[in-house]
Amino acid sequence: MNGEGQKGAPQGFDPRRRRFLSAAAAAAGVALAPGVMLYGIAASTPAGARAPEEAASPWVRWGLLVDVARCREGCDACVTACAEENGLRGQGRPETDAQWIRKVELRDPASGTERSLPVMCQHCAEPPCVDVCPTGASFKRADGIVLVDKHTCIGCRYCMMACPYKARSFVHEAVTGQKSYAPRGKGTVESCTFCVHRVDAERSPACVEACADSGGGAMLFGDLHDPESEISKRIATYATTRIRADLGLDPGVRYRNL
């Protein structure tokens, strides 16, 4: 299953490029002033993978590309995988149960064209949920992943109202049996995290993996800031759209054939 030369390295990683950038950064750091280094590059490990003690890098922006033409109607592999990965168990009350990712079926009444696509937190570059949060609990990580810090979330749900994608859920009832890497509890708001625990371990989100394994292989995860990454190349090659692009939120999730 492993592609040749892909073992252990993130998609689109080129060691030569990394070495060149590191050397350039070191030179720039020396040129600026002694002891002053460009943030984020100097601490990079030679292996390309982020060390556990290294903070998320602002030079990375995680994004997702969904090919709607490959997304099958009725397939919910991504939704199931998300629930399994993050320990989301419904209470049998669809109105209030958490939805981090949902399948949306679209039909153009004029032409009858039908589309089926997954919609989750779009991880905007200008997230309105972060703008409105009164406690700073809703935040965007350096690598572009939008998260809720449940330690400071007061459950006001302002972010849920601000989000044009209806991506966030409120936990209405006490939760038990959480996953150790995905804490969640009553009285806080939550949403898709791009499986941040997996991303930090150099893996792709559970939905992407499930889509490749048992779905249509419609999802591609990668670094939008790296021009050599597969996702960047594809975005540069053909036209992709973002939902409600008119809002100017610059979402990290893009769709093709929508």
């Binding site: 592609g3 982020r50 998260l147 810090d149």
Partner: protein
């Protein structure tokens, strides 16, 4: 006579107050003795030789370490394991009657045992898992299945 006794008592109390630490140590030692009438929390020892830092330091500062770690992990994605709550839970797991680790609602649970004793309520485990992850799922860093999936899509997708 009664006045004299009061003065002597006051002097003794003053002496105890002034030489606090050694007396305190003696009192603590007496409490720790098995025949003590003072109830003590039943704390199960964690795995390994010692905790991630000196025991006295951990007793006083574990909450600060956890707070610090939580902000670093949540906000910056720093995932060192030394002071992580996951690590605490894994190392200090207390097996129940069925041999499986008990949860935070059990009085034998490491945090609960002491926190109930000192009447300090913690809400960590309303959200966080109080049972360690099973080995199959715990070693996240070992698995690179995600990249396999990525490379697969890379080839397959046109």
């Amino acid at each position: 006579m009664a006045r004299g006794a009061v003065i002597v008592l006051a002097l003794v109390m003053g002496l105890v107050a002034l030489t606090g630490p050694p007396w305190g140590g003696a009192i603590q030692a007496a409490c720790a003795a098995e025949d003590s009438r003072v109830p003590l929390p039943a704390i199960t020892k964690g795995k390994g030789e010692s905790c991630v830092a000196e025991t006295g330091f951990m007793r006083r500062n574990h909450m600060n370490l956890l707070d610090h770690q939580r902000d670093e992990t949540m906000r910056e994605g720093i995932r060192t394991t030394r002071f992580s709550l996951k690590n605490c839970v894994a190392c200090h797991a207390v097996p129940g009657a069925d041999g499986k680790p008990v949860g935070a609602d059990d009085p034998r649970f490491f945090c609960t045992a002491c926190h109930e004793y000192v009447a300090v309520k913690i809400d960590c485990f309303q959200c966080h898992a109080s049972r360690p992850e099973t080995p199959a799922r715990a070693g996240l860093r070992e698995g690179f299945g995600g990249n396999a999936a990525l490379s697969m899509i890379g080839k397959d997708w046109r």
